[in-house]
């Protein structure tokens, strides 16, 4: 990827972050911390890798995206709106009565959502089912799945890994959003993860590690993972920062599920807008 493309992708991630904070501020409800940590992965998926038809959300040959950590759906909603699955104004209805943008993603309400999630630990198994269907039907689509580090406390994650390995799902790419903060505290404090990379490797995945908030690194490992057709499911353990891009939210546990007030919103917008990289003349 050349520098120009990388810059464009970084700026798209910045726009996505701005939209995330804007919608959570307007809703006065939602999960900014994890939405910001996963934002670069979501951006890379939607704006570099996924084959989609926004005008035909259920196109059978599309790539799938499973947000197993469903509470960070503002990031996915922003991506879907920016891709044209629905008008940008719809983002203003997050968590409001009658909105397609439920507090946790609903596939029957929101165009572009491939599976309803929100109860942690369950999305990966669904992604495995989608990848398996692709193999059964000899289709080329890929399944991108974002899981949380805390979410890996759930046993079903590891059950799903077994199935991914057994059925040689190299069309499945799992991103672990390793921001090291769960709702009640740090991962070490709540449930020591030991090594998520080693765990996924032991479960038969081809594992990559990178800075999950560094777009250049992320693209480099995703390019490699997607090119590798060796029958092994892929896992990227991305070291991320919860609240990335908004100084007062970064690495602060309490921003897991809190909306910014007006003053905080203003500061966040100033900081995020400053992240835009101006194009070379």
């Amino acid at each position: 990827m050349d520098q120009k493309e990388l810059t464009a992708l970084k700026n798209t991630a910045t726009e996505l972050r701005i939209r995330v904070i804007d919608m959570i501020w307007k809703a006065q409800s939602g999960h900014p911390g994890g939405s910001l940590s996963v934002a670069d992965f979501v951006t890379a998926c939607y704006f570099r890798y996924m084959n989609l038809r926004p005008e035909e959300p259920r196109w059978p040959d599309r790539d799938r995206f499973v947000l197993s950590k469903g509470h960070v759906c503002p990031a996915q909603y922003a991506a879907l709106a920016m891709k044209g699955f629905f008008p940008l104004e719809v983002l203003d209805t997050l968590r409001k009565e009658g909105s397609p943008l439920q507090g946790h993603p609903s596939m029957t309400k929101c165009p572009g959502i491939d599976i309803s999630t929100g109860s942690l630990g369950q999305g990966l198994a669904c992604g495995v089912g989608m990848a398996l269907a692709g193999k059964l039907d000899h289709k080329d689509y890929r399944v991108f799945c974002a899981v949380g580090d805390g979410e890996c406390n759930e046993g079903e994650i590891w059950e799903a890994c077994g199935t991914a390995y057994k059925y040689k799902l190299d069309n499945l790419i799992v991103f672990v959003d390793w921001n090291n903060l769960q709702l009640d505290g740090t991962c070490e404090e709540i449930m020591p993860p030991i090594s998520l990379a080693k765990k996924f490797e032991a479960f038969g995945f081809e594992v990559y590690e990178c800075d999950g908030n560094d777009m250049a690194q992320l693209v480099e490992v995703m390019d490699k993972a997607l090119a590798s057709k060796n029958g092994l499911p892929k896992c990227i353990v991305g070291k991320t920062v919860k609240g990335k891009g908004v100084s007062y939210m970064e690495n602060v546990c309490s921003w897991h599920g809190t909306a910014p007030n007006d003053a905080q919103y203003k500061q966040a917008m100033e900081e995020l807008n400053a992240l835009y990289i101006k194009e070379e003349a």
Binding site: I115, M130, A133, L136, K166
Partner: protein, 311 residues
């Protein structure tokens, strides 16, 4: 003449092969108890449509949901205790909430896994499944009903919970009998009392009606194979035309068929209902018929309760 007895799990095992041959999107998702749940023939004859996710029920439900989003019609196959309770929340979140076309097909319903003891006897499952929005809940009364209702479930677009017996139970239907989801079968007409049963207890209701007839009491017998959506019309007719109902089920008397019938009666503000079923207690390792008897689920008790209602 000896009545033919076949477990309804065998009806499932045969029907699923027929369905799979007709439609390559019909899949079996086994959870390492396929042999007990009678998917052996499917596994052998349709290996491309057969998946086994190991002893991992939660994952099985999720994988099925993902498959269903891609147009597949997966049957998650396990025991009723696990298929309803261990994966209850996965069914709720990933199958019922998004209204996906997944069937949960469970053997070992009720106390039919008798010798296995309480851990394997499922007395709560249909009640639990009944409370999930978008879920349809079915228990066929015999082998032929099982075959027909499995096919009806496959043709129905949406989540279905199917419950079969481990043990052999008498065949009561003809092989050409037709069934409609949500529509009770009237097996006998009568105006003195109604006996509404489902699953393996329908045979007891039929026998009880014969005993009652010998005493000059005419019982209407309904096979309520679908407890959700309940055939409100059939229950209402029993209340309006007869007013006295005995419900019989191989399930806790809480929240199953009996409760569903009581809900209709209570909202109508009329009708007397006596519920027979498992008396809100865990079972034990014992012969199947003994377990039913310990809970008063016998021909004799159905007769006695019907007579008591008539007064």
């Amino acid at each position: 003449m000896e009545t033919k007895k076949i477990a309804t799990r065998d009806g499932f095992g045969e029907a699923i092969v027929e369905l799979g041959k007709e439609n390559k999107d019909i899949l079996v998702v086994d959870i390492d108890i396929g042999k007990s749940c009678k998917t052996g023939a499917f596994r052998k004859e349709l290996p491309e449509q057969y998946l086994n996710v190991g002893i991992a029920e939660q994952n099985g439900a999720g994988v099925a949901a993902g498959l269903a989003t891609c147009g597949k019609i997966p049957f998650v196959v396990t025991y009723a205790a696990f298929g309803s309770m261990r994966i209850c929340e996965m069914i709720r979140q990933e199958i019922c909430y998004p209204h996906l076309n997944v069937k949960i097909a469970c053997s070992h319903g009720g106390v039919t896994p008798a010798n296995d003891g309480a851990s394997h006897q499922a007395i709560e499952d249909m009640g639990i499944m009944r409370t999930l929005p978008n879920m349809t809940v079915i228990m066929p009364a015999d082998y032929y009903a099982a075959k027909a209702l499995v096919k009806a479930a496959a043709a129905f677009d949406g989540p279905v919970y199917l419950r079969f017996t481990r043990d052999a139970i008498p065949v009561i239907y003809d092989e050409n009998e037709t069934f409609e989801i949500g529509k009770a079968k009237t097996l006998r007409e009568g105006g003195d009392v109604a006996i509404i049963a489902n699953g393996d207890t329908v045979r007891l209701a039929i026998e009880a009606a014969k005993v009652l007839a010998d005493k000059g009491i005419q019982a209407r017998v309904l096979d309520m194979h679908t407890i959700k959506p309940l055939d409100q019309e059939a229950v209402t007719a029993c209340i309006d035309e007869i007013g006295r109902i005995v419900t019989v089920e191989d399930h806790n008397i809480l929240n199953g068929l009996g409760s569903a019938v009581c809900e209709v009666a209570a909202e109508l503000g009329k009708g007397k209902v006596k519920r027979l079923g498992i008396q809100d207690q865990f079972g034990q390792s014992a012969p199947y018929e003994r377990l039913l008897a310990m809970n008063g689920v016998t021909v004799e008790n159905i007769v006695a309760q019907a007579e008591a209602l008539i007064g």
